[in-house]
C-alpha cells in the first residue's frame, strides 16, 4: 500500500509526441498502472490493442470499436503498403483519415510479415528482400522504406524494422547477428524518421531466448532513448517458460518511465502474467480471429459456440458482461445477444463473427481495465489469483509456466 501511495505522487516523462505518466506500481509484483498520452489522446496502461490489419477491425465499424472503449488499435504496415499503397495513403492523408478513426494507431514495421508470410524473403544488411506477392518481382524493404511507409500512414506509434528470427532457432551466431543488426537498423530508422514531433518510434528488443543477449540488446536500445520500448521476437512457438523468462529479464533492465510493449501477446493468461512481469502494452490477432471461428472469450474460459450444447442456450455470451452484445436489449446501445443466436449463425452469417469480435475485444480491454484498477488499489496479486481460480475453478491444473513466472514476482498461485 505504501508503495502504491508513493507512486500516486505521479512520476512522468515526456518526449516530443508522448507523455508517460506512472500512476501506480504494485507493491508485490512488477505490475504498473500508467497513462500514455499520444497525439490522438490518452490511453490507460496496461492495455490490450486489437489488430485492425487492413485498416478495419474485421467487420466491425470504427464506431463499434470505439464503443468497446478502444482508443488505440493496430494497423499493419505491410498490408497497407500493398493495399491501398503509399501513394493512396499520402493522397488520402493517412490511416486515421482512411478508416475514419480519430483515436490512436500503432503500426508495426512490416518486418514480421516479411518472414512470416513470404516464402522467399532473405535478409541482408541492407534490408529484407522478397518477391512481390502481386507480380513476383523482387522487392526490398529497408529500415528507411519502412519508416517512410509508416510516416505516410501517420500512426501515433511506429515500430522500427527489426531482423526477426524464430526464437527457437538454435543458430546462436545468426541470433546474435539479428540482434546486432536490429540495433543498427534502429539507428537507420531514427535517422529516416521524418515526424518525431507527431509519431513515436519504438525500438524492438531482440535476442531470442538468450537472456544475456536480451540484456545486452536492452542496454543498446535504451541508450538510443526512443519514446517507448518493445520486446519482440516472442510468440513464435517458444515454450511459455522461456517467454516469461525473457520478458522478466527485459523489464528488469528497462527504465520505469517508458511504456513497455510485448508484441504478439493475446491469451488472457499471458496478459495477466505479463502485466505482473512489468509489461504495459500487448497486441494479438487471436481474440478477433477466434471470434470468426465462433469462439467467445469469457472469465471462465473460451466457449466454442458452434458446439451443439449452445444451440438452446439463451443466456448472454457471458453473464454480467458489460459489452454491447451481452447487456440486455432494454439498455442503451445494447443488443441482448444470446449464445443460441450466435450458434445459429456462426460460420454462416458474418454478423455472428462481428458480434463475437465486439464481445472478445471488449473482454480483452476490460481485463486490462480491471487489472489496472487492481494495480492502483494495490491488490494485483489478489486479482491474479482470482483470475486463475475462475479459469481453473477446481483449484488445480494451473499451468506450471504461470506458477513459476508468478512465483518469481512474489505471487504464489498455489497458496490457499
Amino acid at each position: 500500500m505504501w508503495a502504491a501511495r508513493r507512486m500516486a505522487s505521479t512520476m512522468s516523462a515526456s518526449s516530443a509526441a508522448l507523455t508517460f505518466e506512472l500512476v501506480a506500481k504494485c507493491s508485490t509484483t512488477r505490475a504498473r498502472a500508467s497513462i500514455l498520452t499520444l497525439p490522438h489522446g490518452p490511453v490507460n496502461l496496461p492495455i490490450f490493442m486489437p489488430v485492425a490489419t487492413q485498416a478495419s477491425l474485421k467487420g466491425i465499424t470504427p464506431e463499434q470499436l470505439e464503443n468497446t472503449r478502444c482508443r488505440l488499435c493496430l494497423n499493419n504496415t505491410y498490408h497497407l503498403g500493398l493495399k491501398p499503397g503509399q501513394e493512396v495513403m499520402d493522397a488520402v492523408g493517412g490511416a486515421h483519415k482512411l478508416q475514419g478513426w480519430d483515436h490512436n494507431i500503432l503500426t508495426d514495421s512490416g518486418g514480421f510479415q516479411m518472414v512470416s508470410l513470404l516464402k522467399l524473403a532473405t535478409i541482408t544488411e541492407e534490408g529484407v528482400r522478397f518477391l512481390s506477392p502481386h507480380d513476383g518481382t523482387p522487392m526490398l524493404l529497408t529500415p528507411e522504406h519502412s519508416i517512410s511507409l509508416q510516416n505516410s500512414i501517420g500512426s501515433d506509434i511506429i515500430m522500427q524494422l527489426d531482423d526477426v528470427l524464430v526464437t527457437t532457432s538454435p543458430d546462436i551466431v545468426r541470433m546474435r547477428e539479428a540482434m546486432e543488426r536490429s540495433v543498427r537498423w534502429l539507428d537507420r530508422c531514427i535517422a529516416a524518421h521524418k515526424h518525431p514531433d507527431r509519431q513515436n518510434l519504438f525500438c524492438i528488443i531482440q535476442g531470442g531466448l538468450d537472456l544475456d543477449m536480451r540484456r545486452e540488446c536492452c542496454r543498446e536500445m535504451v541508450a538510443r532513448d526512443t519514446p517507448g520500448i518493445a520486446i519482440g521476437g516472442l510468440s513464435g512457438g517458444e515454450a511459455k517458460d522461456d517467454f516469461c523468462r525473457v520478458v522478466a529479464a527485459c523489464t528488469e533492465q528497462l527504465p520505469d518511465l517508458k511504456p513497455r510493449y510485448v508484441m504478439g501477446i493475446g491469451y488472457p493468461e499471458d496478459l495477466v502474467v505479463s502485466v505482473a512481469l512489468g509489461a504495459d502494452m500487448f497486441d494479438c490477432v487471436w481474440p478477433t480471429r477466434t471470434a470468426r471461428f465462433g469462439n467467445a472469450i469469457t472469465r471462465n474460459g473460451v466457449l466454442n459456440l458452434k458446439r451443439e450444447m449452445y444451440a438452446t442456450d439463451f443466456g448472454p455470451l457471458e453473464d454480467d458482461c458489460g459489452c454491447p452484445c451481452c447487456r440486455p436489449v432494454e439498455q442503451e446501445g445494447a443488443m441482448g445477444i444470446t449464445r443460441a443466436f450466435v450458434h445459429h449463425n456462426a460460420a454462416k452469417e458474418t454478423v455472428a463473427a462481428h458480434l463475437l469480435t465486439i464481445h472478445n475485444v471488449w473482454y480483452q480491454l476490460n481485463l486490462m481495465r480491471e487489472a489496472r484498477d487492481a494495480i492502483i488499489a494495490d491488490r494485483y496479486p489478489a486479482f491474479v489469483r482470482e483470475f486463475f481460480s475462475r479459469l481453473y475453478p477446481d483449484g488445480h491444473g494451473f499451468p506450471s509456466w504461470a506458477i513459476d513466472a508468478l512465483r518469481g514476482v512474489g505471487i504464489d498461485l498455489l497458496e490457499t
Binding site: 505491410y78 475514419g100 506477392p133 477466434t290 466454442n304
Partner: protein
C-alpha cells in the same frame, strides 16, 4: 416513416393483433396511377409510412448488419422479412431435435413496459424492438426445390438441405414465435416459368385449403392471452381467373363486410381471425382484385414479387403496392455496388433545351472499379446522402475494404444502400402527397434519368452459402478455394480442414506458419481475408500470434 418510434398505446380490447393500416391518400379512380399513401402501425413497433420497404434477412439478420447498427444506422428500416426455413435445419447428428428457435423462452426475459412484450422471434434474432418482423416459410427469392409440394407440405431449403415443412408445423412455429406479420404457406413453384393452367389451379386450391386451415389453427392457439399475429394472405403469381375462388373466400370469410370505416371498425378489423393484409407474389393481380373485391382494398399490400430494380418498384407502386420486401438491396451490396439513385431524380445539370438529352445516370457505382478514381476519392458514396456510411466514411475507404476483402466493406455498403432505398421511398411519398400529376411526372423523369439495370459489380463477393444457392449438376463452384496446393506440409492442413472440425472449447491459433508456403500463397489469394470461417493467414502474419506451446496448426471452422 415517422422515425420517432412513438405511437399511441392501443386500447387493451383492440390488442388482439394490434396492427392497423390506414390509407391516408387513396388511389383516385381513373388517375394515371393507383399508388396510395398509407400508414402501417403495430403496437410497440415503429410506425411505417407507406409506400415503403422491409429489409430481407438471412438467418434472422440483415446480412452484414449487426442489430446495433440496424437500430442505429438503418433506423429507417421499419421491418424485416424472415424465412422459417432459415431456422429449422436438422444437423445430421441431431435429426430429432426440435428447432432451437422454437425453444426460445419468452417468460424468462423481463418485458419492459416501455418496449412492450418481446415475441420469441424478436428475442432469438436480437431484432431491435422497434422493427416489425414478417415471417414466411421460405426465403425471398426461394431456391426451387427438386421435389414438389404435397397437399399438406412444401419443400424448404435449410442449411442442411431440402426438407419437408407441413402446414401444421409452420402454423405451430408461427404461434410459438409470434412474428408481427405472418404469411401463411402458399403452394408456389419458385420458378421463373409460368405454371401450366393445371398446376396453377392446384396452386390456388391448395393455398385456399392451407389458408382455411391456418385461420382455424391460429384461432385455436390464440385463445391464450398473448397478442396474435397479423395474417397477410398470399396472393399467387398466377392469373386472376386461376385464383379468383380463393380470393373470393378471403374476401367473404376473413374480412368484415364494412372495413372501410376505419374509426368505428378498428376493433373489428384487428380481430385475430381476420385477414390483416395481402402478401402478393405478383403485383399484377391488384387491378382485378380492386374491381372484384373492393373490401380487400383497405388491406395493406406487401409485395413479395421481387422487383429487380427501382423501375420495377415504381411500376408496382403504381399498381397499388404499399410495402415491399426488397431482395435487390442485399444483392447489390454483396456485388460491391453503391446505389446512386434518388426520387425524384436530380434536375438535369444543363437546362438548355437545345442540348438533346442529358446523359443517362447509373443506378449505382461499382465500388471495386479500379479505373473510376475511387482509390483516393474522399467524397461520400453519393453526394448529399445522409446515410451512416456517407456521413462517417468515404469512397476511398469502401474501395479499399472491397479490394482487401474486408467484411466492413459490405457492412458500409448495406448501410448506404438501405439508406438510399429509404430515401427513395421517402421521395415517393413526398411526391404522392403533392398529387397524382406531380407523382406521375416524377416517375417519368425517373424512368428517363436512370439506366434500366444496376451496374455489374466486379469485386469478389462474400462467400456464398448452401442455404442461399443450391448448386446444380455440373455447375462451377461459386466460391474461390481458400487454399491452393503448393506442395509441402500445408497439404496436410488442407486435408484436415476439408474434413473439418477442430472441436472443443479452447482452440489454438495458427501463428503465421512461419516459413511455410501456404501463408505466402494466401497473401496473393485475398479471397481468404474476409471469409468468415477461412483460415486468415494474412492476419496470422499481422502480428506474432500468442501461441506458445508449439504447434502451429492452420485451422478453420465450419
Amino acid at each position: 416513416m415517422t422515425g420517432d418510434g412513438k405511437q399511441n398505446p392501443q386500447p387493451q380490447a383492440a390488442a388482439a393483433t394490434a396492427m392497423t393500416f390506414e390509407v391516408l391518400k387513396a388511389a383516385i379512380r381513373d388517375a394515371p396511377t393507383a399508388a396510395r399513401l398509407g400508414r402501417l402501425a403495430i403496437a410497440a413497433r415503429r410506425t411505417v409510412d407507406t409506400p415503403n420497404y422491409f429489409a430481407i434477412t438471412s438467418r434472422g439478420v440483415v446480412p452484414h448488419v449487426t442489430p446495433d447498427n440496424l437500430a442505429k444506422h438503418l433506423s429507417d428500416v421499419g421491418g424485416t422479412y424472415m424465412a422459417l426455413e432459415d431456422f429449422i435445419e436438422r444437423p445430421q447428428q441431431y435429426l430429432k431435435r426440435p428447432a432451437p428457435i422454437l425453444q426460445t423462452p419468452s417468460s424468462e426475459f423481463p418485458c419492459s413496459p416501455a418496449l412492450g412484450p418481446r415475441p420469441p422471434l424478436h428475442i432469438f434474432t436480437a431484432m431491435p424492438p422497434s422493427v416489425i418482423t414478417v415471417l414466411a416459410a421460405r426465403r425471398l427469392p426461394a431456391v426451387p426445390a427438386p421435389m414438389g409440394n404435397t397437399n399438406s407440405s412444401v419443400s424448404v431449403f435449410t442449411s442442411t438441405g431440402f426438407q419437408v415443412l407441413t402446414t401444421r408445423e409452420y402454423a405451430d412455429a408461427v404461434s410459438a414465435l409470434r412474428p408481427d406479420i405472418a404469411v401463411p404457406m402458399a403452394d408456389l413453384t419458385d420458378k421463373a416459368l409460368t405454371p401450366t393452367s393445371k398446376r396453377a389451379t392446384r396452386m390456388a386450391e391448395r393455398t385456399d385449403d392451407w389458408v382455411k386451415e391456418w385461420f382455424a389453427q391460429l384461432d385455436a392457439s390464440n385463445s391464450s392471452d398473448h397478442p396474435g399475429v397479423a395474417t397477410f394472405a398470399p396472393v399467387l403469381p398466377v392469373g386472376f381467373p386461376m385464383q379468383w375462388e380463393y380470393l373470393e373466400r378471403l374476401s367473404e370469410d376473413y374480412v368484415s363486410a364494412s372495413t372501410t370505416n376505419q374509426e368505428e371498425e378498428e376493433g373489428e378489423t384487428t380481430r385475430k381471425d381476420h385477414l390483416a393484409g395481402l402478401a402478393l407474389y405478383d403485383a399484377d393481380v391488384i387491378p382485378d382484385l380492386e374491381d372484384a373485391y373492393p373490401n380487400l382494398t383497405p388491406l395493406p399490400r406487401l409485395s413479395l414479387a421481387n422487383p429487380t430494380t427501382p423501375h420495377h418498384v415504381l411500376r408496382q407502386i403504381a399498381l397499388g403496392v404499399d410495402v415491399f420486401a426488397l431482395p435487390f438491396i442485399n444483392m447489390v451490396s454483396d456485388a460491391g455496388v453503391a446505389l446512386t439513385f434518388t426520387f425524384p431524380p436530380p434536375p438535369p445539370p444543363n437546362s438548355d433545351p437545345s442540348v438533346s438529352r442529358p446523359p443517362i445516370l447509373p443506378l449505382g457505382i461499382d465500388m471495386s472499379s479500379p479505373t473510376a478514381g475511387l482509390a483516393t476519392d474522399t467524397g461520400p458514396l453519393l453526394a448529399g446522402c445522409a446515410c451512416y456510411a456517407c456521413a462517417r466514411h468515404h469512397r476511398a475507404y469502401v474501395h479499399h475494404l472491397l479490394a482487401a476483402r474486408e467484411m466492413l466493406g459490405w457492412t458500409l455498403l448495406q448501410a448506404h444502400n438501405h439508406g438510399v432505398a429509404s430515401a427513395f421511398f421517402a421521395g415517393v411519398r413526398a411526391a404522392l402527397r403533392a398529387g397524382p400529376a406531380a407523382y406521375d411526372a416524377a416517375c417519368r423523369a425517373f424512368a428517363a434519368a436512370y439506366e434500366p439495370e444496376f451496374p455489374a459489380g466486379t469485386g469478389e463477393r462474400p462467400r456464398a452459402r448452401g442455404y442461399q444457392y443450391a448448386g446444380g449438376a455440373g455447375e462451377p463452384k461459386r466460391n474461390k478455394p481458400a487454399w491452393g496446393k503448393l506442395g509441402g506440409p500445408e497439404d496436410d492442413d488442407v486435408a484436415a480442414v476439408e474434413q473439418k472440425k477442430p472441436r472443443g472449447g479452447k482452440t489454438k491459433n495458427s501463428n503465421g506458419a512461419i516459413g511455410t508456403g501456404n501463408a505466402g500463397a494466401d497473401i496473393v489469394d485475398d479471397s481468404l481475408a474476409a471469409a468468415v470461417e477461412a483460415v486468415d493467414l494474412q492476419e496470422a502474419g499481422a502480428s506474432p500470434a500468442a501461441e506458445m506451446d508449439g504447434t502451429a496448426s492452420a485451422q478453420a471452422s465450419i
